[in-house]
Symmetry: C2
DNA sequence: GCATATTCTTAATCTATGTTAAGAAATTTT
DNA sequence: AAAATTTCTTAACATAGATTAAGAATATGC
């Protein structure tokens, strides 16, 4: 999306840390203040909350080439309610919030890149809210399938159920319905 | 949030159009491609979809000093599903998408301002998604009351019901419960 | 490759929330 | 301020989706 010169690439390479996250290992845990965003090079991460009854609710999947973070904790500097862990063995690039800001100062077009990225994330989040308000569970599942075709066979069904806001049992029933 | 010089103020004043929007009048209608963001100087706007059964679902309230737009339509350049209208007689500032970009080029710190604004909107939207996934209707109503105390007495209850994703009848019942 | 743990399915039962309807209260228009 | 419209409340009944439980299928760790 943003063409970079060799020097700009070097700046970024210096500020970003590569990391392997094996399946089920955390990149971030609830209770801590988030200080990193992650770009998924390979694999898949997810962010989720755990409610008072111990149920997990997935906020975001981040397959390859997606960014993931706890935006709330990052911008408010407050302890976060979110956990971020790997659904598959993954390789990520970590960018700390302070590095991010220093990149913006040194390479302004990256501030534009992240602004646009965030605008797209907001548009997608709004769309998801509208889906909750106006669609049945079945319709949300069908939308999910067309929106994330690659995820359907790589992540457990119960994770999809959690993302669309239903129980795994009910998702199982919905799937049985459509022969 | 962003201190401006006299000249910068003049640039902005030139690119922004002031407009009065009487109660129930539209700033934007579904089907059109959105090309403006609006800053609410006075009054209150809302964005909402109308589903196939004719029910309204409110995505956002914008009381004084908030921005409102159809981010999806704006960034994808696609016809929007959202209507934006005034809940109260309002005065707004309209900023077209093209002016917005030209402001970014002329006053880079405003690109930062809008990046931060969008990050905050995303954090709030994520929070709302988590609320849907993990809270009952009653808890969502209570959260709404603490989050938007000023709205509770200025907008119809049925609008609150629509925003938190329940019917007005059920909200009425919830309110009766807590004596 | 076997044992263990996790995920998925099915079915019976339960419950939070929706629907319908009708009157009361509040607000807006004339 | 009366009439008309919109919003709010209440109550009986309906339903989408949750819960519980148990077995079957898959996946994982050793």
């Amino acid at each position: 999306m943003v063409p970079l010169t060799k020097e700009e690439e070097d700046i970024i390479r210096e500020l970003v840390k590569e990391k392997d996250v094996p399946r089920k290992k955390f990149m971030h845990q609830a209770g801590e203040v988030a200080s990193y965003s992650a770009f998924v090079v390979e694999g898949c991460l997810r962010s989720y909350t755990v409610d008072r009854d111990g149920f997990e609710h997935i906020l975001q999947f981040a397959p390859e080439n997606w960014w993931i973070s706890d935006m709330y904790s990052l911008v408010k500097n407050q302890p976060s309610e979110l956990n971020i862990d790997a659904l598959l063995d993954s390789k990520i690039l970590l960018l700390s919030r302070s590095c991010q800001v220093s990149i913006y100062d040194r390479i302004p077009k990256l501030e534009r890149y992240f602004r646009i990225l965030t605008e797209n994330a907001l548009a997608a989040s709004n769309q998801r809210t509208i889906n909750y308000l106006s669609l049945t569970a079945k319709m949300r599942y069908e939308k999910f399938c067309t929106l994330y075709p690659t995820l359907i066979n790589t992540i457990p069904q119960k994770s999809i159920a959690s993302y669309i806001g239903i129980t795994p049992e009910f998702l199982s029933k919905l799937r049985a319905e459509r022969n």
